[in-house]
């Protein structure tokens, strides 16, 4: 019942493999992490307090804007574009996306620290690593806050490592193990992701695997089994958390000027099958 927040000692966890694998050619990462290095300004599309699924305890989650993936089931379409945009809702317009200086965002979060003793702050998106330099600058400025990063893992190795070393817990998404299917449903290759996962595992930081379930896409027995097989071999053998499909996924598309047209049948109940994991002695649960 009582949450134990153990701040990881990031420096001790650093391993010799830290800088490995910086080839980014033909991975879709071109441009990511470039040009932003000097910048300490970032774009945030939401800050939510008392979030439920973004890590242990009482948390405030910062949603960073911009994502290199285009997952078919994405329920935060306003998180895709890096730029602020106007959302046109039934109750009027609202701008999603606000620029923050790293100092400003860190101050805002540090001021909440007295109430976040039983938790901390989480960074989600979008893909927070799209703004790795900004995120790193914010993390540098946080004072005594437990930090969780929720990431797709799709980022240049160097910026990935620089950020995760400053985190206390990483929630790492694994969507599809089959490279072809991954390209089809998310728009990017999963090679980079799996390489970063290996780097994360080798670092020895606390981390969990998150699997967003979309019916007939990621919730298939074959996919879950492949994920289980992969996780079983990872150092530390992390826990897997299945995120059930949310039928509200399409709710914000119209406001973003997008059409919600999933090419899978979202009326089919998604399978929340833990058996493939338990059979391989992989700790797993449904959120």
């Amino acid at each position: 019942m009582i949450y134990m927040i153990n701040r990881a000692n990031a420096s001790a966890a650093e391993s010799a493999k830290g800088g490995a694998g910086s080839t980014t050619a033909a991975t879709g990462l071109e441009g990511m992490g470039q040009g932003m290095r000097a910048s300490v300004t970032g774009v945030v599309f939401d800050i939510r307090e008392l979030t439920i699924h973004d890590g242990p305890g009482l948390r405030t989650t910062v949603f960073l804007k911009g994502c290199p993936l285009s997952c078919a089931w994405c329920h935060n379409p306003e998180g895709r574009s890096r730029e602020p945009q106007v959302l046109r809702g039934p109750n009027g317009d609202r701008v999603a996306g606000r620029s923050y200086q790293a100092d400003e965002l860190a101050t805002l979060l540090n001021r909440q620290a007295p109430l976040l003793i039983d938790g901390g702050v989480s960074f989600s998106g979008g893909e927070p690593l799209m703004q790795a330099a900004f995120l790193e600058a914010v993390l540098e400025r946080l004072e005594g806050l437990h930090v969780v990063l929720g990431t797709s893992g799709f980022a240049p190795a160097e910026s990935f490592l620089r950020v995760v070393r400053r985190c206390d817990l990483v929630l790492f998404d694994l969507k599809l193990m089959d490279p072809e299917a991954h390209r089809r449903w998310t728009g990017v290759d999963n090679r980079v992701i799996l390489d970063n996962l290996q780097r994360l595992a080798d670092l020895g930081l606390p981390y969990l695997i998150r699997v967003p379930l979309a019916p007939g896409v990621t919730d298939t027995e074959a996919n879950l089994r492949f994920i289980a097989l992969h996780v079983r071999e990872l150092p530390g053998r992390p826990r897997v958390e299945l995120l059930p499909y949310n039928r509200a996924a399409g709710g914000k598309y119209a406001a973003c000027g997008l059409e919600w047209r999933p090419d899978y049948d979202e009326t089919v109940p998604c399978r929340t099958d833990l058996a493939p994991f338990h059979e391989l002695q992989v700790d797993a649960r449904v959120l």
Binding site: M1, I2, Y3, I47, R48, E49, L50, T51, I52, G57, L58, T60, R111, Q112, P114, L115, L116, I117, D118, G119, P244, N246, V286, L287
Partner: protein
């Protein structure tokens, strides 16, 4: 998502079939058939015998008890069903006018909104109370007032004992000797079992209502009932499941007569109880009954009793989670009280430490000491929006500094408080012999409750505070600091209710800091207003009853009345305000961000309201928040809300009401009330059935801030 929710619901125990049926009958009003519409005539005999007010009040209690028919349903174990609907008058109208000449009643007149010392009454039994009265009468022989009062008190005790006796005989005649035995022993003697304690409490409490009192609190139920349950469990007379069911039946019985209780609307009846917290000696008072009460509240899921929980940062998370399970069903309680803030605040206000550690709430949220407080905790309200609005207008017209406007607001509050204080010194409290039996020292001193107890303070609400601070923040930012708004134009726009000034209204709403975002630009003004309000209450001095004026942060109905007016209300109303609020729009209820303000989230709200100096404002008044029902799905989410309650303690806030709302459900209930008869919502200090509220209140609830959607 829904499967997880269903699993959770299946995992939590529900009412037994016996109690589910009992609850159904009560909600359907089947027991109303026992009610008589006849009015008991007390006035004629009072006139004939030339009785004074004290004896009339006792005669009322006696005749009401006598007129009660005995109702024992075959499946009942905790008895009492009210069958006499109406409370008869004790004086003719013209006599009453004479008695009241130059004086004022509080609300309806009879003493209300306090809390008896139920622990004392149960542990002594009514025969011991009677003996105390007899002893005092002998000691005080010759003191006419004492003799009259003590005779009256004995008359009420005998009436209650006779009512219990009639119930016992009827139970025996029905072959229910188990119940007959319970009623023969208590409330005459100290209860020998948990069952007897509940039965005695039910009867003595119901007689308060029969005597014309209302908002009758139940106090620290887990503290005073636990010794009886503990003994039963230790002796093997009862297993926990049986005790749980008895407690649930007692709770259901408290809902039988709610529709007969006076209140703003049904549900506003002040049957509040307190759980947890320190004992009088400062040790931790949480016991197994604490969690049982939370469980019973969740299972019974009716508007009574209203449950409050005292917490510290060390309160067990499991207990907090139990409370969250109760919040989750949407009744709007428990209400959380922060011992770390409240107890020092009461001590600072002059309460003895052991009394402060024994606090409970009166009807809604106002802190009171059981058996020791004859406090009128809601004597009036200071309108913070009126104070800020008049200060802004006068200050801008005179071309004064912003600081001068703040001083004007303080002076305005002082004037409002002074008016309330002056009127309140004419307060007339009618004698209350039966209530006096249940209080500390009335029988022993030979003095009726209406003459006062150890604590005799009056409470004043500081209502509409967030709107008032936001209005000041808008003026400081836009008129003084940024010079973007011309003062003359602002005043004209306020007079015109922003007709043709929509852009200005938008600027006022969006271009300045607002309370609730942990932004000192607005929060600092909220703190300033309450400091000045506390100064005003200090300056008001004695209340004529040996007490002082306690400032509070509640609003009760004033969040509506101060905007729209109310018959007979002394407090000023105010039109459009400089925070961009239109004329007639409701203010925020108790402590909450202004209704139209967007805030970052519940942690920022805690931090904003945690800045207030609650050591100076100890009348109570909850920070009120609505959480989306999605925040209650799954064990992990419930634990997070439990941690949020701990964060509330850390934030330094005083009191908090959490409610869970699903706006879609509420809208559907407006369209199809017949499908949502049991939908309960928190209104302010009380919970009511949504479909029974006036539409404007329904809309106010739908418009409240909901966090975590």
């Amino acid at each position: 998502m829904s499967t997880i929710l269903e699993e959770r619901q299946a995992a939590l125990p529900e009412l037994s079939p016996r109690l589910a049926e009992m609850k159904r009958r009560i909600r359907a009003g089947e027991h109303h058939r026992y009610r008589s519409t006849d009015m008991v005539d007390v006035l004629a005999e009072c006139e004939r015998e030339g009785l004074d007010w004290t004896r009339r009040a006792a005669r009322l209690t006696r005749r009401m008890c006598e007129a009660q028919a005995v109702v024992i349903e075959p499946d009942e174990r905790v008895l009492f069903t009210r069958t006499v609907k109406r409370i008869p008058p004790l004086y003719r109208p013209e006599q009453m006018d004479e008695l009241r000449a130059g004086r004022t009643f509080h609300e309806l007149g009879p003493i209300s909104n306090i809390c008896a010392d139920w622990g004392m009454v149960l542990s002594q039994g009514l025969l011991a109370r009677r003996a105390a009265a007899e002893a005092a009468r002998a000691r005080l022989a010759g003191d006419r007032e004492a003799e009259t009062f003590l005779d009256a008190a004995v008359e009420t005790i005998d009436a209650v004992l006779e009512l219990a006796r009639r119930y016992a005989s009827a139970a025996h005649a029905l072959g229910r000797d188990d119940l007959a035995d319970v009623l023969r022993l208590s409330p005459a003697h100290p209860p020998a079992s948990f069952h007897e304690a509940l039965q005695a409490l039910r009867l003595c409490h119901a007689v308060l209502w029969l005597s014309g009192h209302y908002h009758c609190g139940l106090g620290r139920l887990d503290q005073y009932l636990w010794p009886y349950l503990e003994a039963d469990l230790a002796e093997g007379r009862l297993v926990p499941a049986e005790a749980q069911e008895l407690l649930e039946e007692f709770f259901i019985s408290l809902n039988k007569d709610s529709d007969l209780y006076p209140g703003i609307q049904q549900g506003d009846n002040g049957q509040s109880l307190m759980l947890g917290g320190m004992r009088r000696d400062g040790s931790d008072g949480v016991n197994p009954l604490t969690a049982m009460v939370l469980e019973a509240g969740r299972k019974v899921a009716l508007i009574d009793p209203k449950i409050n929980v005292r917490v510290t940062r060390d309160t067990d998370l499991g207990l907090l989670a139990k409370g969250v399970e109760l919040t989750r069903i949407g009744l709007g309680f428990p209400q959380w009280c922060n011992d770390e803030v409240i107890i020092p605040g009461l001590v600072a206000a002059g309460y003895d430490p052991e009394d402060a550690q024994d606090y409970t709430v009166a009807a809604c949220w106002e802190f009171i000491i059981p058996g020791k407080g004859m406090e009128v905790v809601n004597i009036g309200a200071a309108s913070m929006p009126a104070a800020s609005d008049r200060a802004i207008r006068a200050g801008l017209e005179a071309g004064e500094s912003f600081d001068r406007i703040l001083r004007r607001a303080g002076a305005d509050l002082a004037e409002q408080v002074s008016d309330i204080a002056e009127a309140s010194r004419k307060l007339l409290l009618p004698p209350a012999p039966w209530y006096s039996v249940l209080m500390d020292g009335c029988l022993e001193r030979g003095r009726d409750l209406c003459h006062g107890l150890k604590y005799n303070n009056f409470g004043i609400h500081g209502a509409g505070s967030a709107n008032a601070a936001d209005a000041l923040a808008a003026v400081r930012t836009l008129v003084y600091d940024e010079r973007r708004v011309d003062p003359t134009r602002l005043i004209r726009a306020l007079d015109a209710d922003f007709q043709g000034e929509e852009a200005l209204r938008t600027e006022l709403r969006e271009g300045a800091p607002k309370v609730g975002n942990h932004d000192d630009g607005a929060d600092g003004l909220l703190v300033d207003l309450f400091d000045r309000f506390a100064d005003a209450c200090d300056a008001a001095g004695d209340n004529g009853r040996g007490g002082r004026y306690r400032p509070g942060t509640g609003s009760a109905m004033y969040y509506v009345w101060l905007a729209r007016g109310h018959e007979g209300m002394r407090e000023p109303t105010v039109g459009a305000t400089a925070d961009g609020r239109r004329n007639g729009a409701f203010f925020s209820s108790s402590l909450a961000p202004s209704p139209e303000v967007q805030v970052r989230g519940p942690l920022s709200v805690l931090q904003s309201f945690g800045k207030l100096d609650y050591q100076r404002i100890c009348n109570g008044g909850p920070l009120t928040m609505e959480l989306a029902d999605s925040l209650f799905r799954g064990k992990e989410a419930v634990e997070k809300v439990a941690l949020f309650i701990r964060a509330f303690v850390r934030s330094g806030c005083q009191q908090m009401q959490l409610n869970t709302l699903n706006v879609d459900t509420l809208r559907d209930a407006q369209r199809h009330p017949e499908l949502h008869r049991n939908l309960v919502v928190r209104v302010w200090g009380w919970s009511g059935y949504f479909c029974e509220l006036d539409e404007s209140y329904q809309n106010q609830i739908i418009g409240r801030h909901i966090y975590g959607v």
